[in-house]
Symmetry: C2
Subunit: 201 residues, 2 copies
Protein backbone atom coordinates (compact mmCIF):
# COMPACT_ATOMS: atom_id res chain seq x y z
CA UNK A 1 0.00 0.00 0.00
CA UNK A 2 1.92 3.01 -1.20
CA UNK A 3 0.62 6.42 -0.38
CA UNK A 4 1.60 8.64 -3.28
CA UNK A 5 4.91 10.00 -2.00
CA UNK A 6 5.36 13.24 -3.91
CA UNK A 7 9.01 13.67 -2.98
CA UNK A 8 9.22 17.35 -3.66
CA UNK A 9 12.50 19.18 -3.38
CA UNK A 10 13.78 18.14 0.01
CA UNK A 11 13.83 20.89 2.59
CA UNK A 12 17.09 22.06 4.10
CA UNK A 13 17.34 23.89 7.39
CA UNK A 14 17.74 27.22 5.61
CA UNK A 15 14.66 26.74 3.51
CA UNK A 16 12.55 25.79 6.50
CA UNK A 17 13.90 28.65 8.57
CA UNK A 18 13.01 31.13 5.86
CA UNK A 19 9.47 29.81 5.70
CA UNK A 20 9.10 29.85 9.46
CA UNK A 21 10.37 33.39 9.82
CA UNK A 22 7.90 34.51 7.19
CA UNK A 23 5.04 33.01 9.17
CA UNK A 24 6.35 34.41 12.44
CA UNK A 25 6.31 37.88 10.97
CA UNK A 26 2.86 37.82 9.46
CA UNK A 27 1.10 36.20 12.43
CA UNK A 28 3.46 36.95 15.27
CA UNK A 29 5.64 34.32 16.95
CA UNK A 30 3.22 33.28 19.68
CA UNK A 31 0.22 33.23 17.38
CA UNK A 32 1.99 30.92 14.93
CA UNK A 33 1.49 27.23 15.65
CA UNK A 34 3.80 24.45 14.55
CA UNK A 35 1.00 23.29 12.30
CA UNK A 36 0.94 26.65 10.60
CA UNK A 37 4.63 26.23 9.90
CA UNK A 38 4.27 22.67 8.64
CA UNK A 39 1.42 23.61 6.35
CA UNK A 40 3.44 26.49 4.92
CA UNK A 41 6.40 24.17 4.35
CA UNK A 42 4.34 21.37 2.86
CA UNK A 43 5.39 18.77 5.41
CA UNK A 44 3.88 17.45 8.60
CA UNK A 45 4.47 18.76 12.07
CA UNK A 46 6.54 15.77 13.07
CA UNK A 47 8.75 16.12 10.01
CA UNK A 48 9.56 19.63 11.11
CA UNK A 49 10.99 18.26 14.33
CA UNK A 50 13.46 16.24 12.31
CA UNK A 51 15.15 19.47 11.26
CA UNK A 52 14.69 21.67 14.31
CA UNK A 53 14.63 20.89 17.99
CA UNK A 54 11.48 22.92 18.49
CA UNK A 55 9.72 26.19 17.98
CA UNK A 56 12.13 28.20 20.05
CA UNK A 57 15.12 26.75 18.22
CA UNK A 58 13.70 28.24 15.05
CA UNK A 59 13.37 31.62 16.69
CA UNK A 60 16.86 31.39 18.08
CA UNK A 61 18.36 30.57 14.69
CA UNK A 62 16.56 33.49 13.11
CA UNK A 63 17.63 35.95 15.80
CA UNK A 64 21.17 34.66 15.55
CA UNK A 65 21.34 35.37 11.86
CA UNK A 66 19.89 38.82 12.28
CA UNK A 67 22.30 39.84 15.03
CA UNK A 68 25.27 38.45 13.12
CA UNK A 69 24.53 40.80 10.25
CA UNK A 70 24.22 43.78 12.55
CA UNK A 71 27.40 43.15 14.51
CA UNK A 72 29.39 42.45 11.34
CA UNK A 73 28.75 46.10 10.56
CA UNK A 74 30.73 47.26 13.56
CA UNK A 75 33.76 45.31 12.37
CA UNK A 76 34.01 47.11 9.06
CA UNK A 77 37.01 49.46 8.79
CA UNK A 78 34.85 52.51 8.07
CA UNK A 79 33.03 51.90 11.33
CA UNK A 80 36.24 51.89 13.34
CA UNK A 81 38.27 54.74 11.81
CA UNK A 82 37.64 58.38 11.01
CA UNK A 83 35.76 61.06 12.88
CA UNK A 84 32.88 59.99 15.14
CA UNK A 85 30.42 61.57 12.73
CA UNK A 86 31.72 59.75 9.65
CA UNK A 87 31.76 56.46 11.55
CA UNK A 88 28.24 57.14 12.74
CA UNK A 89 27.06 57.92 9.26
CA UNK A 90 28.60 54.74 7.91
CA UNK A 91 26.90 52.62 10.54
CA UNK A 92 23.51 54.23 9.97
CA UNK A 93 23.76 53.63 6.25
CA UNK A 94 25.01 50.10 6.80
CA UNK A 95 22.24 49.36 9.28
CA UNK A 96 19.63 50.26 6.69
CA UNK A 97 21.43 48.10 4.14
CA UNK A 98 21.50 45.10 6.48
CA UNK A 99 17.86 45.69 7.22
CA UNK A 100 17.10 45.58 3.51
CA UNK A 101 19.16 42.44 2.92
CA UNK A 102 17.91 40.46 5.93
CA UNK A 103 14.50 42.11 6.21
CA UNK A 104 12.51 39.19 7.69
CA UNK A 105 15.18 38.31 10.22
CA UNK A 106 15.72 41.87 11.41
CA UNK A 107 11.97 42.41 11.55
CA UNK A 108 11.66 39.43 13.84
CA UNK A 109 14.50 40.69 16.00
CA UNK A 110 12.84 44.05 16.48
CA UNK A 111 9.61 42.43 17.67
CA UNK A 112 11.06 40.21 20.35
CA UNK A 113 9.60 40.88 23.80
CA UNK A 114 11.68 38.71 26.13
CA UNK A 115 9.36 35.84 26.99
CA UNK A 116 11.89 33.03 26.55
CA UNK A 117 15.59 32.67 27.20
CA UNK A 118 16.44 33.11 23.52
CA UNK A 119 14.45 36.30 23.36
CA UNK A 120 16.13 37.73 26.41
CA UNK A 121 19.50 36.90 24.91
CA UNK A 122 18.58 38.67 21.70
CA UNK A 123 17.33 41.66 23.65
CA UNK A 124 20.61 41.87 25.51
CA UNK A 125 22.62 41.76 22.30
CA UNK A 126 20.44 44.45 20.79
CA UNK A 127 21.07 46.63 23.79
CA UNK A 128 24.77 46.01 23.29
CA UNK A 129 24.54 47.20 19.71
CA UNK A 130 22.55 50.26 20.65
CA UNK A 131 25.06 51.11 23.35
CA UNK A 132 27.87 51.06 20.79
CA UNK A 133 25.88 53.43 18.64
CA UNK A 134 25.03 55.66 21.58
CA UNK A 135 28.72 55.90 22.51
CA UNK A 136 29.48 57.06 19.00
CA UNK A 137 26.77 59.72 19.19
CA UNK A 138 28.20 61.02 22.43
CA UNK A 139 31.67 61.16 20.91
CA UNK A 140 30.30 63.13 17.96
CA UNK A 141 28.59 65.58 20.29
CA UNK A 142 31.74 66.05 22.32
CA UNK A 143 33.72 66.62 19.14
CA UNK A 144 31.27 69.36 18.22
CA UNK A 145 30.16 67.51 15.11
CA UNK A 146 26.47 67.63 16.01
CA UNK A 147 24.14 70.53 16.68
CA UNK A 148 24.89 72.22 19.98
CA UNK A 149 22.60 71.19 22.79
CA UNK A 150 21.78 67.79 21.35
CA UNK A 151 21.22 65.23 24.10
CA UNK A 152 23.39 62.24 23.12
CA UNK A 153 21.11 59.66 24.69
CA UNK A 154 17.99 61.11 23.13
CA UNK A 155 19.68 61.52 19.76
CA UNK A 156 20.91 57.93 19.76
CA UNK A 157 17.44 56.67 20.58
CA UNK A 158 15.83 58.67 17.83
CA UNK A 159 18.53 57.56 15.40
CA UNK A 160 17.88 53.89 16.20
CA UNK A 161 14.16 54.47 16.10
CA UNK A 162 14.25 56.08 12.70
CA UNK A 163 16.46 53.40 11.19
CA UNK A 164 14.55 50.49 12.69
CA UNK A 165 11.19 51.89 11.65
CA UNK A 166 12.14 51.13 8.06
CA UNK A 167 11.12 47.49 8.58
CA UNK A 168 7.54 48.65 9.00
CA UNK A 169 7.13 49.64 5.37
CA UNK A 170 10.17 48.64 3.28
CA UNK A 171 9.49 45.83 0.82
CA UNK A 172 12.25 44.52 -1.46
CA UNK A 173 12.14 44.72 -5.22
CA UNK A 174 10.80 48.24 -5.45
CA UNK A 175 12.70 51.02 -7.23
CA UNK A 176 14.84 53.34 -5.15
CA UNK A 177 15.97 50.59 -2.82
CA UNK A 178 19.64 51.28 -3.52
CA UNK A 179 19.28 54.90 -2.45
CA UNK A 180 17.46 54.18 0.77
CA UNK A 181 20.47 54.03 3.12
CA UNK A 182 21.62 57.46 1.95
CA UNK A 183 18.13 58.91 2.10
CA UNK A 184 17.60 57.73 5.65
CA UNK A 185 20.99 58.97 6.74
CA UNK A 186 20.36 62.37 5.20
CA UNK A 187 16.96 62.69 6.87
CA UNK A 188 18.49 61.74 10.20
CA UNK A 189 21.40 64.15 10.06
CA UNK A 190 20.02 67.03 7.99
CA UNK A 191 16.29 66.77 8.69
CA UNK A 192 13.74 67.44 6.01
CA UNK A 193 13.65 71.22 6.18
CA UNK A 194 15.25 73.35 3.40
CA UNK A 195 18.24 74.39 5.50
CA UNK A 196 21.61 75.43 4.06
CA UNK A 197 23.19 72.18 5.16
CA UNK A 198 26.97 72.05 5.60
CA UNK A 199 27.08 68.98 3.37
CA UNK A 200 25.61 71.12 0.63
CA UNK A 201 23.55 69.77 -2.20
Amino acid sequence: MSTARVRRTPHGQDSLLEIAVGEFITRGYDATSMEDLSRAAGITKSSFYHHFAGKEALLRAALDRSLAGLFALLEEPEAATGTPLSRLRHIVRGQVAVLQRDLPYVTLLLRVRGNTESERWALARRREFDARLAALVRAAVEAGELRAGVDPILAARMLSGLVNSVVEWYRPGRPGAADLPDEVARAAFDGILPAASPRGE
Copy 2:
Protein backbone atom coordinates in the same frame (compact mmCIF):
# COMPACT_ATOMS: atom_id res chain seq x y z
CA MET B 1 -16.12 26.73 55.32
CA SER B 2 -15.33 30.31 54.30
CA THR B 3 -12.29 30.93 52.21
CA ALA B 4 -10.86 34.24 53.36
CA ARG B 5 -12.51 36.72 51.05
CA VAL B 6 -10.10 39.62 50.91
CA ARG B 7 -12.42 42.15 49.26
CA ARG B 8 -9.78 44.56 48.07
CA THR B 9 -10.71 47.79 46.31
CA PRO B 10 -13.39 46.78 43.82
CA HIS B 11 -12.29 46.76 40.20
CA GLY B 12 -13.94 48.93 37.60
CA GLN B 13 -13.67 48.40 33.88
CA ASP B 14 -11.01 51.09 33.56
CA SER B 15 -8.87 49.63 36.28
CA LEU B 16 -9.05 46.15 34.78
CA LEU B 17 -8.32 47.47 31.31
CA GLU B 18 -5.27 49.27 32.56
CA ILE B 19 -3.96 46.13 34.19
CA ALA B 20 -4.68 44.03 31.12
CA VAL B 21 -2.96 46.45 28.77
CA GLY B 22 0.07 46.41 31.01
CA GLU B 23 0.27 42.63 30.79
CA PHE B 24 -0.34 42.66 27.05
CA ILE B 25 2.61 44.97 26.59
CA THR B 26 5.12 43.11 28.73
CA ARG B 27 4.27 39.61 27.48
CA GLY B 28 2.63 40.31 24.16
CA TYR B 29 -1.09 39.90 23.51
CA ASP B 30 -1.02 36.28 22.32
CA ALA B 31 1.40 35.16 25.01
CA THR B 32 -0.81 36.60 27.75
CA SER B 33 -3.43 34.18 29.08
CA MET B 34 -6.65 35.15 30.78
CA GLU B 35 -5.22 33.60 33.91
CA ASP B 36 -2.24 35.93 33.71
CA LEU B 37 -4.66 38.83 33.61
CA SER B 38 -6.73 37.53 36.51
CA ARG B 39 -3.68 36.95 38.64
CA ALA B 40 -2.43 40.45 37.94
CA ALA B 41 -5.83 41.88 38.86
CA GLY B 42 -6.17 39.76 41.98
CA ILE B 43 -9.41 38.10 40.91
CA THR B 44 -10.29 34.84 39.22
CA LYS B 45 -10.60 34.25 35.52
CA SER B 46 -14.37 33.91 35.68
CA SER B 47 -14.69 37.17 37.57
CA PHE B 48 -12.86 38.85 34.76
CA TYR B 49 -15.55 37.69 32.36
CA HIS B 50 -18.12 39.53 34.42
CA HIS B 51 -16.55 42.82 33.31
CA PHE B 52 -15.38 42.03 29.80
CA ALA B 53 -16.88 39.82 27.12
CA GLY B 54 -13.54 38.19 26.45
CA LYS B 55 -9.90 38.64 25.66
CA GLU B 56 -10.47 40.33 22.34
CA ALA B 57 -12.95 42.78 23.87
CA LEU B 58 -10.15 43.95 26.12
CA LEU B 59 -7.88 44.48 23.17
CA ARG B 60 -10.60 46.25 21.28
CA ALA B 61 -11.29 48.66 24.15
CA ALA B 62 -7.60 49.46 24.45
CA LEU B 63 -7.14 50.05 20.75
CA ASP B 64 -10.25 52.20 20.73
CA ARG B 65 -8.93 54.46 23.40
CA SER B 66 -5.58 54.78 21.71
CA LEU B 67 -7.05 55.67 18.33
CA ALA B 68 -9.46 58.15 19.87
CA GLY B 69 -6.56 60.11 21.30
CA LEU B 70 -4.74 60.13 17.99
CA PHE B 71 -7.71 61.22 15.89
CA ALA B 72 -8.70 63.90 18.38
CA LEU B 73 -5.42 65.52 17.40
CA LEU B 74 -6.56 66.04 13.84
CA GLU B 75 -9.62 67.97 15.04
CA GLU B 76 -7.63 70.60 16.86
CA PRO B 77 -7.75 74.02 15.18
CA GLU B 78 -3.95 74.23 14.82
CA ALA B 79 -4.06 71.01 12.83
CA ALA B 80 -6.60 72.36 10.37
CA THR B 81 -5.43 75.92 9.77
CA GLY B 82 -2.17 77.56 8.80
CA THR B 83 0.53 76.50 6.37
CA PRO B 84 1.01 72.77 5.72
CA LEU B 85 4.32 72.88 7.55
CA SER B 86 2.93 74.51 10.68
CA ARG B 87 0.02 72.06 10.72
CA LEU B 88 2.46 69.19 10.26
CA ARG B 89 4.63 70.42 13.08
CA HIS B 90 1.67 70.73 15.38
CA ILE B 91 0.53 67.21 14.65
CA VAL B 92 3.99 65.73 15.17
CA ARG B 93 4.31 67.46 18.51
CA GLY B 94 0.79 66.45 19.46
CA GLN B 95 1.40 62.86 18.46
CA VAL B 96 4.35 62.65 20.81
CA ALA B 97 2.26 64.23 23.57
CA VAL B 98 -0.57 61.71 23.06
CA LEU B 99 1.98 58.96 23.07
CA GLN B 100 3.28 60.17 26.41
CA ARG B 101 -0.16 60.51 27.93
CA ASP B 102 -1.56 57.18 26.69
CA LEU B 103 1.73 55.33 26.49
CA PRO B 104 0.49 51.77 27.17
CA TYR B 105 -2.47 52.07 24.84
CA VAL B 106 -0.51 53.54 21.97
CA THR B 107 2.22 50.97 22.49
CA LEU B 108 -0.34 48.23 22.12
CA LEU B 109 -1.75 49.83 19.01
CA LEU B 110 1.65 49.94 17.36
CA ARG B 111 2.19 46.22 17.95
CA VAL B 112 -1.02 44.94 16.45
CA ARG B 113 -0.46 42.49 13.59
CA GLY B 114 -3.94 41.87 12.19
CA ASN B 115 -4.81 38.41 13.48
CA THR B 116 -8.33 39.19 14.61
CA GLU B 117 -11.10 41.44 13.34
CA SER B 118 -10.39 44.06 16.00
CA GLU B 119 -6.76 44.16 15.04
CA ARG B 120 -7.53 44.57 11.37
CA TRP B 121 -9.91 47.39 12.21
CA ALA B 122 -7.23 49.13 14.25
CA LEU B 123 -4.73 48.62 11.44
CA ALA B 124 -7.12 50.23 9.00
CA ARG B 125 -7.66 53.24 11.24
CA ARG B 126 -3.93 53.61 11.71
CA ARG B 127 -3.47 53.62 7.96
CA GLU B 128 -6.14 56.30 7.80
CA PHE B 129 -4.23 58.45 10.26
CA ASP B 130 -0.94 57.93 8.45
CA ALA B 131 -2.59 58.87 5.16
CA ARG B 132 -3.76 62.16 6.63
CA LEU B 133 -0.23 62.86 7.76
CA ALA B 134 1.21 61.83 4.40
CA ALA B 135 -1.16 64.21 2.60
CA LEU B 136 0.08 67.02 4.78
CA VAL B 137 3.69 66.18 3.98
CA ARG B 138 2.92 66.23 0.28
CA ALA B 139 1.22 69.60 0.62
CA ALA B 140 4.25 70.96 2.45
CA VAL B 141 6.57 69.70 -0.27
CA GLU B 142 4.42 71.24 -3.00
CA ALA B 143 4.37 74.52 -1.08
CA GLY B 144 8.16 74.47 -1.07
CA GLU B 145 8.28 74.29 2.70
CA LEU B 146 10.46 71.20 2.82
CA ARG B 147 13.91 70.53 1.40
CA ALA B 148 13.85 70.24 -2.40
CA GLY B 149 13.84 66.68 -3.68
CA VAL B 150 12.24 65.21 -0.60
CA ASP B 151 10.03 62.26 -1.50
CA PRO B 152 6.72 62.93 0.28
CA ILE B 153 5.86 59.27 0.77
CA LEU B 154 9.29 58.42 2.14
CA ALA B 155 9.35 61.50 4.33
CA ALA B 156 5.94 60.74 5.78
CA ARG B 157 7.00 57.20 6.59
CA MET B 158 10.17 58.31 8.29
CA LEU B 159 8.24 60.93 10.21
CA SER B 160 5.77 58.37 11.51
CA GLY B 161 8.57 55.95 12.21
CA LEU B 162 10.54 58.45 14.24
CA VAL B 163 7.55 59.56 16.28
CA ASN B 164 6.23 56.06 16.93
CA SER B 165 9.65 54.76 17.93
CA VAL B 166 9.38 56.87 21.06
CA VAL B 167 7.22 54.17 22.69
CA GLU B 168 10.24 51.87 22.64
CA TRP B 169 12.10 53.82 25.28
CA TYR B 170 9.97 56.61 26.78
CA ARG B 171 8.95 56.02 30.38
CA PRO B 172 6.82 58.54 32.26
CA GLY B 173 7.98 60.39 35.32
CA ARG B 174 11.44 61.18 34.13
CA PRO B 175 12.72 64.76 33.77
CA GLY B 176 12.56 66.40 30.37
CA ALA B 177 9.26 64.80 29.50
CA ALA B 178 7.61 68.16 28.83
CA ASP B 179 10.24 69.07 26.26
CA LEU B 180 10.06 65.80 24.36
CA PRO B 181 7.47 66.79 21.73
CA ASP B 182 9.55 69.80 20.74
CA GLU B 183 12.78 67.85 20.74
CA VAL B 184 11.38 65.15 18.50
CA ALA B 185 9.87 67.70 16.13
CA ARG B 186 13.14 69.58 15.91
CA ALA B 187 15.13 66.41 15.19
CA ALA B 188 12.64 65.45 12.51
CA PHE B 189 12.61 68.78 10.73
CA ASP B 190 16.11 70.12 11.37
CA GLY B 191 18.10 66.92 11.84
CA ILE B 192 20.87 66.68 14.38
CA LEU B 193 23.66 68.32 12.40
CA PRO B 194 24.90 71.83 13.30
CA ALA B 195 23.23 73.51 10.32
CA ALA B 196 22.20 77.16 10.20
CA SER B 197 18.58 76.24 10.64
CA PRO B 198 15.93 78.69 9.37
CA ARG B 199 14.28 78.51 12.77
CA GLY B 200 17.54 79.71 14.18
CA GLU B 201 18.76 79.39 17.70
